[in-house]
Structures are given as structure tokens and as C-alpha cells.
């Protein structure tokens, strides 16, 4: 599998990571190398093999859908790069 620069740029956008144009070429090479390496999985017969969803032999626990804790707005916000009152501040989203 070989990725081109345009595909890498598209993935980078999907991942919301800015990649300088000058790095797209080498990154395409590295990612292609990894994708070529993982292609060997096609040798494995996986007909009727269920994809693993949980490695521990247990079902996810359930609990009541109820509030059990809370009221920590100042602590929650304390690491925010920009906050105001009880909110995070981000660049304007709606016109």
C-alpha cells in the first residue's frame, strides 16, 4: 500500500493535525512503509473468526443512570487555557 501526498494531507486534516507541506512527502513514505508491513495480515485465515471486542472474559458492568458526584466546575476548568465564568473560551464558531 502506498499513500500519496494528497492522501496524507487528507488524513492529517481528518485528525486535525497541521502538517507543513514540506513534511508530507517523507510522512507519506513512512506511513506507506507501515501499511506495507501490516499487509501480511492478509495471509491469516480469519473466516468465521469473530473480531475481538474485549480481552477480559467479562461483560461491561452496568450501573443506574443517576448522578453520583459532581459540582466541581472550578476544578474542571482549572487547566483550561482560556476560561470565563463557568465556560471554556474558544474562537467564534457561529457568525
Amino acid at each position: 500500500m502506498s499513500l500519496d501526498k494528497a492522501t496524507v494531507a487528507k488524513i492529517a486534516h481528518l485528525a486535525r493535525i497541521k502538517v507543513p507541506d514540506g513534511e508530507l512527502e517523507s510522512l507519506a513514505g513512512e506511513l506507506s512503509q507501515i501499511l506495507t508491513f501490516v499487509e501480511q495480515l492478509n495471509e491469516v485465515d480469519t473466516k468465521d473468526v469473530p473480531p475481538m471486542t474485549s480481552v477480559a472474559a467479562q461483560k461491561l458492568r452496568r450501573r443506574k443512570d443517576a448522578v453520583t458526584d459532581g459540582g466541581y466546575a472550578p476544578q474542571v476548568l482549572s487547566n483550561g487555557p482560556e476560561t470565563a465564568e463557568s465556560f471554556y473560551v474558544v474562537p467564534k464558531v457561529v457568525e
Binding site: I11, A15, E30, T46, V49, N79, G80, P91
Partner: protein
């Protein structure tokens, strides 16, 4: 008397109980050791004041007769565990300034049992790596590097991603350290530094408050200088936690009581597929030596087959990046850490993440994004999960004819910083013996077993049945005693 920094945990607990020294004296000796290892770039954050305050409280508890199972033992914490009020970086620029408002479950249990925090130690960025060379805070150098500190002949890696944890113990600057293991990140650095490291069964230790890399594979565990110490520390780290949906509700055994030395009749599986191409002759010889040691102790070697071993790395390098791409979506410049402004919200995200992630993390997020994207999900991600099932089945089958499995920890002795770096796939091969165990969710440990011709440590790996850490520890101690590795690194604090 042995220098306080050269004690084992068991020895230190004994000395504290007999009042040969106080927890404050033990902490002071270690705080000086932490300063002495600065050239190796092991600590990201030193917490000497917290160490001394915790030690003082420990002495007071002991005086009241309320000492816990780890009371007064100075340890280091991998900087992937959230520690309340103490910077937690994951080795990444993107967590600049982050001070958690809460404590991870595992570290809170260690403090509950009396352990003393020396500081937060280095790792590969977001635990993605095998050498502790990708952190924003720089590379950690192993105390096994030949030459004077700062003027090394070769700068040997401590392994990774828990390389700071491994280095700090080997350098005698902490009695133990927490690690995390997603594909070998406890066992490989333990092997590379002549220390002991356990990756418990998935679900044994709570993942709550640990910075997530690949949630279905991540597991915390202890790193120490002896198997007995690992048993002591493991007991404090394990236990059910309702805050982690994958935490298993099971009683925690007294792991130290399992160290009987009696392994007569135990069947030790030797997987033929682990005799891989490129395995060094000295590691092959050490492995055979390990089999002999266990035979002499009365165990019975059994050849087993794990036919899908060769596909484990490929499956891992789809599953782990896929989960990472999802887990690391939270670093968006809004709630914590770095923010790099942009004209729009989307631009701010892209600028922040572009500047905040290092190249290995970026590579893995992009691979993960790709394999989860429309049109490729089945071909890559689902295929990898099916192969993962087959790898798990291999182990299920193997454990019908054996009780524990013995393999090398890594295919070679540690390399030097600058070697093996240009090809990411080549770098991934360090983890060829450790990755299958995470995919199968099993417990495993690395035990020091000897030194290579280059004078650097070699480890053997033991793999157990789910939740059978006790057999693992019992056999591990037999290997440790037979190997009797007494060599110290060229530098110790």
C-alpha cells in the same frame, strides 16, 4: 549496613520495622540520589518536598503502629499517571502546564499503603516507543552506559516506554517505580536495565487516571529490583475500581506468599515460534540456560506452538494506533495543556495538535485515523481484531499443555541512542516477544537473567494464565535465584 539506596523494598521494610533507620532518613538518601542522577535525564519533575513530608507522616504512622504494607518506601512514578497538583506531562509538549485535579487510582493506592513519592519520571511521548527517546523533555540515558556521566562512550537506551522507571531503579535512585505496558513498555525496559517488571493481567490494575494510549492493551504494573519487591508493590497497585469499566472485581492475593520456590512438576511451555530469525546467539543460549534452571528446580519443559506469533506486531500496529487516534482526540487546546491560536476553531485545533505532538505520536495518530477511515475499517481494523482473536486462541490452546511460558524478553541487548532510528518498522521489532501478550491480555514479567558480551543486561520473560500472577512470581523468583545477577551498572547513585 548496606547504603540505604541499595536496599530492596523487603530489606527497607525490615530496617524500618527494626528502627535501624527512619523513613525520613530513607527519603533523604533517595532525594540526594535523585539529584545525583540528573545527567541521565530520568526525572521530568522532582518532588523532594513531597517526599520528605510523606516520609515524616510515614514515621508518625509507624510510631502509632499503623504502618501500611509499603510504608516509607520511596518510589518514582511514570509521568503517565495523574498526580494531584503535580505536573503530569506524558512526555508531551501538548500537556504543557497540566496539573491534574485528581490522583490516579493506582498511585492513590500506593500512597494509601504508605509509599513515598520522589517524583515523575521520563517515558516515550504518550508511552509510544521502545527507548525513552521521544519525549518533549529529551532522552533518558541508561545508567548501564559505559563511561563517565555526560561523557559516555555509548549512550545506551533504557528501553521504553517506561525507560525512566527502569533507569531510576537500576541507578539506585528509587526502590521501585510504576510503569505501564501497552506492548512491552514495562518488560522490555526491565530487561534492558537488569530489573524486574510485571505487566499484570488486563483488568487487574485500574486504568483510571492514567493517560490513555491504547485502552484495550494498556495495563499498569510495578518495576523493582527483585521479584519479592515486585510482589510487594503489585499487591498495592491491584484491586477493583468502579471508575474503570474494565477493572475486574476479584480479590487481590498476598503475592509474596506465593514465593515458595517450589515449582516441582510445573509444566513450562517453550514456544517454538519465538526462535525468530535474527535472534542473537547469546539470547538463544540464555533462553536454553533458563530452561535448564527450571528443569533443575523440578519443572518440566514442554514444547508448545503459538502459530500466529509472527502476525502479532502487524495486528498491534493497527489496533494500538487506531485506539490512540481516538484517545488522543481529546487534546484540542480547549480543556488543558497547550493552545496555539488560529483564525477559526478548526484552525486552532490543527495548529495546537500540529505543534503539540512529536513525530512518533503524529505518525501513530495518522495511521490510526487512516485504518479507521471509511473504506478501510474492515480491511485493516477488523482484520487486525480477528487476528487478535486467533492470537488469543493460540495461548488458550497452549495453556492446555503448560502452566507458564518462558521466552526471552527482547531479541537483543539494548542499543545506543542514534542506532536503529531511521526505520520505524525496525524499531517496532524490539517488541516482537512482548506484544502478543498484550493482545491476549495475559500477565507476564521480565526477570534479569544475565549480561551479554557487551556487558549489558539480558532478561527472560515469563507468561502466565489470566489472573495467575502468583505462578508467574513463583517461577520468576526461581529464575532470579538461579541467574543470581549481581553486576551493578557503571553508575549508581
Amino acid at each position: 549496613m548496606t547504603a540505604l539506596t541499595h536496599l530492596t523494598m523487603a530489606g527497607a521494610l525490615d530496617g524500618l520495622a527494626k528502627k535501624e533507620f527512619t523513613a525520613v532518613e530513607l527519603a533523604e538518601a533517595h532525594v540526594r540520589a535523585v539529584e545525583a542522577v540528573r545527567p541521565f535525564n530520568i526525572f521530568i519533575t522532582e518532588t523532594p518536598d513531597a517526599a520528605l513530608a510523606m516520609a515524616k507522616a510515614s514515621d508518625e504512622r509507624r510510631a502509632r503502629g499503623e504502618a501500611g504494607p509499603m510504608d516509607g518506601l520511596p518510589i518514582a512514578v511514570k509521568d503517565l499517571f495523574c498526580t494531584k497538583g503535580v505536573a503530569t506531562t506524558a512526555g508531551s509538549h501538548i500537556l504543557d502546564g497540566f496539573k491534574p485535579e485528581y490522583e490516579s487510582t493506582v498511585t492513590s493506592q500506593l500512597w494509601r499503603d504508605g509509599a513515598v513519592m520522589l517524583g515523575k519520571v521520563n517515558l516515550d511521548e504518550f508511552a509510544m516507543g521502545s527507548a525513552t527517546i521521544t519525549a518533549h523533555q529529551g532522552e533518558t540515558v541508561s545508567p548501564w552506559s559505559p563511561g563517565a556521566p555526560g561523557a559516555w562512550e555509548r549512550r545506551i537506551v533504557a528501553g521504553g516506554s517506561s525507560g525512566g522507571s527502569a533507569a531510576v531503579i537500576a541507578a539506585r535512585a528509587a526502590l521501585g517505580a510504576t510503569g505501564t505496558d501497552t506492548g512491552g513498555s514495562i518488560r522490555q525496559p526491565a530487561g534492558y536495565t537488569g530489573t524486574v517488571g510485571i505487566k499484570p493481567t488486563y483488568g487487574r490494575c485500574s486504568r483510571w487516571g492514567i493517560v490513555a494510549y491504547a485502552s484495550s492493551l494498556d495495563q499498569a504494573g510495578p518495576m523493582t529490583r527483585t521479584v519479592e519487591d515486585a510482589a510487594i508493590m503489585l499487591r498495592s497497585m491491584c484491586g477493583f475500581d468502579p471508575k474503570d469499566s474494565t477493572s475486574v472485581d476479584m480479590a487481590v492475593p498476598d503475592f509474596r506468599a506465593a514465593l515458595t520456590g517450589d515449582i516441582r512438576g510445573l509444566r513450562v511451555g517453550i514456544p517454538k515460534e519465538y526462535r525468530v530469525e535474527g535472534l542473537s546467539a547469546e539470547i538463544d543460549a540464555l533462553w536454553n540456560q533458563g530452561i535448564e534452571w527450571l528443569k533443575e528446580a523440578g519443572a518440566v519443559p514442554v514444547e508448545i506452538s503459538l502459530p500466529h506469533t509472527k502476525y502479532a506486531l502487524a495486528a498491534y500496529y493497527i489496533i494500538a494506533p487506531a485506539e490512540a487516534s481516538s484517545n488522543l482526540a481529546r487534546y484540542d487546546g480547549v480543556r488543558y495543556g497547550l493552545r496555539v491560536e488560529g483564525g477559526s476553531l478548526s484552525e486552532m485545533y490543527e495548529n495546537t495538535r500540529g505543534a503539540g505532538f512529536g513525530s512518533e505520536v503524529r505518525r501513530r495518530i495518522l495511521v490510526g485515523t487512516y485504518v479507521l477511515s471509511a473504506g478501510y475499517y474492515d480491511a485493516y481494523y477488523n482484520k487486525a481484531r480477528q487476528v487478535r482473536t486467533r492470537i488469543k486462541w493460540d495461548f488458550d490452546e497452549a495453556f492446555k499443555s503448560c502452566d507458564v511460558i518462558l521466552t526471552p524478553t527482547a531479541p537483543s541487548t539494548p542499543f545506543a541512542i542514534g542506532e536503529k532510528m531511521d526505520d520505524p518498522v525496525q524499531m517496532y521489532l524490539n517488541d516482537v516477544f512482548t506484544v502478543p501478550i498484550n493482545l491476549a491480555g495475559l500477565p507476564a514479567m521480565s526477570v534479569p537473567a544475565g549480561l551479554g558480551a557487551d556487558g549489558l543486561p539480558l532478561g527472560l520473560q515469563l507468561i502466565g494464565r489470566p489472573f495467575d500472577e502468583e505462578t508467574l512470581l513463583r517461577v520468576g523468583q526461581v529464575v532470579e535465584k538461579a541467574a543470581n545477577v549481581t553486576a551493578l551498572p557503571p553508575f549508581v547513585a
